[in-house]
Amino acid sequence: MYADVQGKQVFATTGGKPFDNRKPTVIFLHGSGLDHTFWGLHSRFFAFRNYAVLALDTPGHTNSAGPPLTSIEAMADWLNDVVEELDASNISLIAHSQGCLVALEFAARYPERLKSVSLVASGLATPVNDALIKAAEEDPEAAIAMMLGWGFGSAGHLHQGPIPGNSMVAGGRKVMRGNVPNELATDLKACNAYQNGRQAAAAIQAPVQVIIAGKDRMAPAKATADLVEHLPDPEVTLIEESGHMVPQEVPNQCRQLLRDFVFSNNPAT
C-alpha cells in the first residue's frame, strides 16, 4: 500500500491483509540498499495472525519516493512520521542490519507506542569501510557483490534458498540493482556516521530481542556483544549456522523466534 507521508509517497507491503490500525502493528525495517521484499518470509506470516503489518521501503528505495535519507536519526524521525500518519499503535519493530540502527534510535526517541523491538544481525554501530562506500558511488555492481558476498553465508552462496526454485543471492542482487548508486551509498554513509547507538540502546524501555548469526561477517561477534551489553535485559539467541542475512538464510528459525517474542510481548486477539 502507499501512504502520503509529509507530502511524499511511502510504500509498504501489508502482508496480504489490508492495514488495520486497530490491530497491534508489526513494522519491518530493511537493511542498506534493500527493500520490503527482504521480509517476504515473515511479513505475510504476521499479517495472517491478526497483526497489522508494514514492511516498509525507506525513502528512495524501490517503491517509496526519494531522496534517500542521509542519517539514521532522520530515518527514525521519518518512521515516526509514518507511524503518526497511519496512527499505528501497539508496535512491534522488527529490524535487520541498518534497520536495527533505525529501530534503536526510534525506540529511544519515540517509546510511547512501542511494545517490543527485535534486532536481527546488528551491533550498536555499523562502521563501513571507505572502499565499500567508494564502490557504491562509483562501481555499484562491485559494491553489491561485496555486500552480498559478505552478507550471505554458505546457504546463500550455494543457492540453497528456503523457497523451492528461488535464489536468495540473485533475488537480493536484483533488488539492490534498483537501489544504486544513490540509495545504497547514502545508506552506507548514514550507517558509518551513526554514533548514538550506545545512548539509544540504554534508553530503550520496550522489551528487546537480539538475534545473532554465528557466521555474520557484517555484524561480527564483537559488535553484537557490544549491542547486547548496552541493552537493558535483552532476550538473546544465537543462530550458529547463519550468515548476516538471517531472515532469508534461516527463515523458519528466525520466524519462530520473532513469533514467540512478538506473541508474548504484543499479543493479537
Binding site: 552462496h157 550455494l158 543457492h159 540453497q160 528461488n166 533488488v175
Partner: protein, 432 residues
C-alpha cells in the same frame, strides 16, 4: 564462503543441501507425492505462501527444487520453475502473463513446436502472435501493438541459426514495458547468460544440452527478476490481487521472483505439468558436466564445419561461427565461446540425396532431438517443421535439401568417417 562461486562449481553444488539424515552426497530422488506436515500451523503457512516448503509434488518437490535452484544459479536468475517438458515451460510462461486479447511479437526462426503453439493453438485462447524475421530488429518494434505483452525469440534460431540481437530487442521491450522472453535451449547458460543482455525470462528444454544424455524430458522457466511489472497496469496477473491465495499481490510480496511465483501458484497448480523427481535426478547428472560437454560439442563442431565446408558433396554449410553467416558478428558478441553445436547443411542432389545421406549414416542417429551426447541428424522439412505451412518454412529458412546436424561427443574422426559413408550414398543418388 565470501566470494561468489564460479560456473563449474555451481553446476555441481548449487541448490543442494547435503542430505542431513544419511549424508548422501548425490541429490536424493524424493519419489513421493506428498509431505508430512509437523503441525497445522506449518501446513497452513505453506499453503498460504507464508513460508517455503513442500506440500504436494505437482507444485514443488525437493529433487526438482535442486535442479531449479541450480539452473537459476547458472542463469543468474532470481527463480526457476521446472516443468514436464520445454513446451510445457513455454506454455506456462506465456499464460502466466497473457490472456484473451493479448499479443506476442515472436521470431520466425523457432522450434516448430513454438511456432505451432503461437500460430495454431494460442489463438484458440485468444492470444495472437506476429512473427518477425530475427535479423530484422526494427521489425520487432514495428510489430508491437497496443495489446502486445511479450516479445519472444530463440537466441540461436532453429534451424536457420540466426542470432537474435539481445541487447537491441531487449531495449525495445524495456522502452515499451514489454518483457522479453528468450528460448535459450541452444546456447545454455554456459554459452550465454541472456539476462546480462536484456532478456527478462528464459525458457529451456532441459532435455537437450543441459541434460545431455537423451534420457529424460524436462523444461524450465527462469525468472530474470529484472522486469518492472509495476511500471504499468498491463500485467494484472502479477500486480493485482490473486484470489486463489487470499488476494496475494505477487509483485508486492515476491518482487524479483513474482513471475516465477505466478507460474508456481497457477500453472503448476491448475495445469499441473510437473517434472518427475526421477527426471530431475537424471537431468542433474547431466548438468554436473555441462561445461565439459559443451566444450567438446564446440570443438567437434568446429572440426566438422571445416570438414563440411571443404566437402565436394556439400552445397552449403550454415553455422554462426562461419564468417559467411549473416549473424557472425552477433555470434561473436553474445556467444564468444562458440555458437552452439547445431549445424545445418545442404547435400548436393537435393531432397533425395539428403534422404540418402541420413539413411546411410550409422553412428549419426536419425531422430527428432538435439543436444544429445550422440550425434544426431534429421530432415527438418519432413519432420520437426512438417506441421508448419510452406510460407512459414521459407520464413524459418528451411530448404528441401537441408540436413540439421546436432554434433555429439564422439571422436570426431569417427563422425567424419560415418558422414563419408552417407555422402557416398548421396553421391550415388545424385548421379542417377
Amino acid at each position: 564462503m565470501s566470494r561468489f562461486l564460479n560456473f563449474d562449481t555451481l553446476s555441481l553444488h548449487a541448490g543442494q543441501i547435503v542430505d542431513p539424515v544419511f549424508g548422501a552426497r548425490a541429490a536424493p530422488i524424493y519419489q513421493t507425492t506428498s509431505y508430512v506436515f509437523p503441525d497445522t500451523d506449518t501446513a497452513s503457512s505453506i499453503f498460504n505462501l507464508e513460508r517455503g516448503g513442500h506440500a504436494y509434488s505437482r507444485i514443488t518437490n525437493p529433487t526438482v527444487g535442486v535442479l531449479e535452484q541450480r539452473i537459476a544459479a547458472l542463469e543468474g536468475g532470481s527463480a526457476a520453475v521446472c516443468t514436464a517438458s520445454g513446451m510445457a515451460a513455454t506454455f506456462c510462461a506465456i499464460t502466466a502473463i497473457l490472456g484473451q486479447g493479448d499479443h506476442i511479437v515472436a521470431s520466425t526462426q523457432m522450434y516448430g513446436g513454438n511456432i505451432s503453439l503461437m500460430k495454431n493453438t494460442l489463438p484458440r485462447f485468444g492470444i495472437t502472435a506476429t512473427f518477425v524475421d530475427p535479423t530484422d530488429t526494427d521489425g520487432f518494434a514495428k510489430a508491437i501493438q497496443d495489446n502486445t505483452k511479450l516479445i519472444y525469440g530463440e537466441l540461436i534460431g532453429n534451424p536457420g541459426l540466426d542470432i537474435l540481437d539481445l541487447e537491441a530487442i531487449g531495449k525495445i521491450g524495456a522502452d515499451q514495458h514489454i518483457p522479453f522472453m528468450v528460448d535459450a535451449t541452444f546456447n545454455t547458460p554456459y554459452l550465454c547468460r541472456c539476462f546480462d543482455y536484456g532478456a527478462n525470462m528464459t525458457i529451456h528444454s532441459v532435455t537437450k544440452w543441459m541434460g545431455g544424455h537423451g534420457v529424460a524430458i524436462g523444461g524450465v522457466v527462469v525468472d530474470g527478476g529484472n522486469f518492472d511489472w509495476g511500471a504499468t497496469d498491463k500485467y494484472p496477473t502479477i500486480t493485482e490481487p490473486y484470489a486463489p491465495f487470499q488476494g496475494i499481490n505477487l509483485w508486492e510480496e515476491f518482487g524479483p521472483s513474482a513471475f516465477a511465483t505466478r507460474i508456481r501458484a497457477e500453472a503448476m497448480r491448475d495445469f499441473g505439468p510437473s517434472m518427475a523427481p526421477m527426471n530431475a535426478f537424471l537431468l542433474l547428472q547431466g548438468l554436473e558436466t555441462l561445461s565439459l560437454r559443451m566444450d567438446k560439442h564446440l570443438a567437434n563442431t568446429m572440426e566438422l564445419l571445416d570438414f563440411l565446408t571443404n566437402h565436394d558433396q556439400v552445397s552449403w554449410v550454415n553455422h554462426p561461427s562461419l564468417a559467411s553467416h549473416s549473424s557472425h558478428e552477433l555470434a561473436q558478441k553474445y556467444l564468444p565461446k562458440g555458437a552452439g553445436s547445431i549445424v545445418s547443411f545442404g547435400v548436393k542432389g537435393g531432397r533425395e540425396a539428403g534422404k540418402a545421406f541420413i539413411e546411410n549414416t550409422e553412428l549419426a542417429s536419425h531422430l527428432a532431438n538435439v543436444g544429445d551426447a550422440k550425434t544426431l541428424v534429421i530432415h527438418p522439412a519432413t519432420t520437426t517443421h512438417s506441421r508448419i505451412d510452406a510460407e512459414a518454412l521459407v520464413a524459418a529458412g528451411i530448404t528441401e535439401d537441408m540436413v540439421r546436424l546436432s554434433v555429439g561427443l564422439e571422436d570426431v574422426a569417427d563422425i567424419k568417417a560415418d558422414f563419408e559413408t552417407g555422402f557416398r550414398a548421396a553421391k550415388r543418388i545424385a548421379k542417377v
